[in-house]
């Protein structure tokens, strides 16, 4: 057992932190949030140039052959920086899925595009039912000759507004099937929702969208177990981001408590503020430890259902606790839009409800316990 990062991971983390601190002041985050696209094409290119898109993919697909655990370190720093944009959708939701269950042709075609930063992908999963259950999928894909025709309404789809390709989950005759769909296909219309994180979650309507049978990803009708793996991977990814997010909130809060004086003393010298900070630190460390454990277990290819559920359930409860105390210590300045703290507050709330909230994952844990 060993909790230390490898030298490579340390380097990756430091580099990512420095890069993002440099390129992504909160003014830039704000710009991206307010832009129609929700990301900066320029930064996207630079990230691709650093090898971030292909980090965990094999070299033959333009990647660097590192592991999901290595990628987790990067995600933590992205959370710390509140990086907006389609990285998570492209790499975590889509790239890994194609690598996992794509045909050789599909991998050859799509993974290099991801590694190079050429194409943006996303996962088109949830619907107005807004859950992560198989029964929640009503969008239909009906076989017609060499094609399928997809119709239905998807909701809370991240980054669909800028995606080049979509991995779409739809109900086929005997189950759920995943499709790789060109986002420019006729019949797809996208509306960007307005969200607490100012990320670009979309409503995507499929009106008789034709997709070739070659574009089935994985086995037809066997998609749901694969989707469960995608959700697991996404949940772990979010936990890593959440770790970075609340670590940064803690760091900012401690700094503030050292500087801010009231009644002639730094507020960080008041016992109640000290205890708030200690509670925050305990929550942050618990979140990190469990996120790392889940990421490591998944990365090793071991069964990880329980580890993932524990991490996301914990993070889902720890984040709001940490953010509440961060605000309580920051006082009024922290609830203004010009203060950096609010980026984290808003972002954390979105992460909490995504890919299973605490309640969802507690039920997974209960099942794993044999209850």
């Amino acid at each position: 057992m060993n909790l230390a990062l490898s030298e490579e991971q340390e380097m990756l983390k430091t580099m990512a932190r420095d890069f993002l601190a440099d390129k992504l002041p909160k003014t830039a985050v704000k710009e991206m949030e307010e832009s129609e696209e929700g990301y900066s094409a320029e930064l996207w290119k630079e990230m691709a140039g650093l090898g971030w898109m292909g980090l965990a993919f094999p070299e033959k697909y333009g990647g660097s052959d590192m592991s999901f655990l290595d990628l987790a370190m990067l995600l933590e720093e992205m959370g710390r920086a509140c990086l907006p944009g389609p990285y998570f959708s492209t790499v975590v939701l889509s790239g890994f899925t194609i690598l996992d269950i794509g045909t050789d042709e599909q991998k050859d075609e799509y993974l290099p595009k991801i590694s190079s930063g050429e194409a943006i992908f996303t996962l088109v999963l949830t619907e107005p039912s807004a859950n992560y259950e198989e029964s929640g999928i009503e969008t239909k894909a009906i076989a017609e000759g060499d094609s399928y025709v997809i119709s239905g309404t998807k909701l809370f789809v991240p980054d669909a507004n800028v995606a080049d390709y979509m991995l779409v989950a739809a109900r086929t005759d005997k189950g759920i099937t995943l499709f790789i769909v060109d986002a420019k296909s006729p019949g797809i219309s996208t509306t960007v929702l307005k969200t607490i994180a100012n990320d670009k979650l979309c409503e995507v309507v499929f009106d008789k969208v034709k997709v070739s049978k070659d574009n089935v990803l994985g086995e037809p009708n066997q998609g749901w177990p694969e989707i469960e793996k995608i959700i697991q991977r996404a949940a772990v990814g979010k936990c890593c981001e959440m770790t970075g997010c609340i670590q940064q909130a803690l760091d900012m809060t401690v700094e503030y408590a050292k500087d801010r004086k009231q009644y002639g003393h730094p507020i960080g010298s008041f016992q109640v503020i000290q205890h708030y900070c200690a509670d925050m630190a305990t929550d942050v460390d618990g979140t990190r430890l469990s996120a790392y454990q889940a990421a490591w277990t998944l990365s090793e290819g071991l069964p990880c259902a329980q580890e993932v559920a524990i991490a996301k359930a914990w993070a889902g409860e720890a984040c709001p606790r940490v953010m509440a105390l961060a605000h309580q210590i920051h006082g009024a300045i922290g609830v203004t839009i010009d203060h950096d703290l609010q980026y984290y507050t808003r972002w954390a709330k979105a992460a909490e409800v995504s890919y299973g909230d605490a309640s969802f994952h507690r039920e997974v844990v209960a099942k794993e316990m044999g209850l």
């Binding site: 949830t126 929702l193 509440a324 309580q328 839009i337 808003r346």
Partner: protein, 390 residues
């Protein structure tokens, strides 16, 4: 002991509620969370004024209705229950009018109270400063005597209502040499004076009710001083009890609570209404319990005030309790809404007009403004329980 409202009180509640329902039915406004502080609607305020519902507790000789604080709480409760846009008269009615009634000269009463009663005084609260938050007594804004005037210089921040104000209530240092609690005075004057500038502060929801207000050589006549010079800090302590005492500390987001219950009844998951889910039932019941306990705290405060006592620890207790409740309410609402909980009021597909989103973000500030929960717990410990300060 009697937990029933009197017949007149019930009648009054009905009257207020009929009035507000009528307003909503006419489409004059839509119920919303935080409307007491965000809903600037001069016409609504005029109509409230015509009902005689501003200055409800002031003495009749001052133009008020001489009614009890319980009556006032009933009025407030209904305003909040219906999410009525009462921001134009809120501060004048709740806080400043009372200060004038209490500490004002006859001349001040004659000039200021009618304006407040007519709903024409949109008051900003000029208290906090960048370095004087919880520690209000360390404020630096100066009011320097100059003949018949004071010259005001300095900066206020978190000035509630400052963006819509035409009058300002200001706390400033009138004796720079006195110990910090002993050189402070209260002022109330029109913002229609040269040297005052306002910079709105956008809050985390994107809304504005806080402001920075800058004073540069602002000359105000001495008649604007309220109460006793250099005794302002002690006057304020008293007023703060009132500021903290109100139903808005518990029910600013009441429309969300009602909408949430409705939502769980109407929304199905796996063919069953959410309201049948045991975990959701438990959460909603917990909110209802929390709300009713909070209401009792609030009513107790009003009763203390009707007894003529300043509700010092009682209002601290009810504010700490109420603002924590509001935060739980918002958090629970988002938990129940799940992915929908992240949609903003302006988004397609948003449920409940985005009140959960708004409340989640806005409720972060409730436990800070008008006395942080930490300061109020100190007050409870030291004033109610008489624990020693260090």
């Amino acid at each position: 002991m009697d937990f029933r409202l009197s017949e007149e009180q019930e009648k009054f509640r009905q009257e207020v509620s009929d009035f507000l329902e009528g307003e909503i039915k006419q489409g004059l406004w839509e119920p919303s969370c935080d409307a007491w502080i965000m809903g600037h609607n001069p016409e609504f305020t005029k109509r409230v004024s015509r009902k005689g519902w501003i200055g409800l507790t002031w003495p009749k000789e001052d133009g008020g209705q001489g009614r009890s604080y319980i009556d006032r709480l009933i009025l407030t409760e209904e305003m909040l229950r219906y999410g009525a846009p009462a921001a134009c008269h809120w501060f004048a009615d709740r806080q400043i009018g009372g200060a004038v009634v209490h500490y004002g000269t006859d001349q001040q009463k004659k000039e200021l109270l009618p304006m407040i009663l007519k709903g024409e005084a949109y008051v900003g609260l000029g208290m906090s400063e960048p370095d004087a938050g919880s520690d209000l007594a360390s404020l630096k804004t100066k009011a320097t005597e100059d003949g018949d005037d004071f010259i005001i210089d300095g900066q206020k921040t978190w000035t509630s209502g400052g963006n819509n104000m035409n009058w300002i209530y200001l706390v400033a240092r009138t004796d720079p040499d006195a110990p910090k609690h002993k050189g402070i005075s209260e002022f109330f004057f029109s913002t229609d004076l040269p040297g005052i500038s306002v910079a709105p502060i956008e809050d985390i929801t994107g809304g504005v009710h806080f402001n920075e207000v800058f004073f540069e050589n602002v000359r105000v006549p001495k008649t604007c001083l309220i109460g006793v010079r250099n005794k302002g800090f002690y006057q304020i302590l008293n007023q703060l009890d009132y500021e903290r005492s109100g139903m808005e500390r518990l029910m600013a987001n009441y429309p969300l609570f009602e909408a949430l219950i409705q939502y769980t009844k109407e929304t199905k998951r796996n063919g069953k209404p959410l309201s049948q889910d045991p975990l959701i039932r438990s959460k909603l019941a917990q909110l209802k319990i929390g709300l009713e306990i909070g209401r009792m705290h609030m009513y107790r405060v009003a009763m203390v005030m009707d007894e003529g006592r300043a509700p010092n620890w009682e209002s601290s207790m009810s504010k700490v309790y109420g603002t924590a409740f509001e935060q739980r309410l918002a958090g629970t609402a988002i938990e129940i809404l799940g992915l929908y909980g992240q949609l903003s009021p302006k988004s397609k597909n948003v449920p409940m007009r985005g009140m959960a989103y708004h409340s989640y973000l806005s409720s972060k500030g409730y436990s800070l403004q008008a006395g942080s929960s930490e300061v109020l717990k100190n007050i409870m410990a030291q004033r109610k329980l008489e624990l020693p300060s260090q």
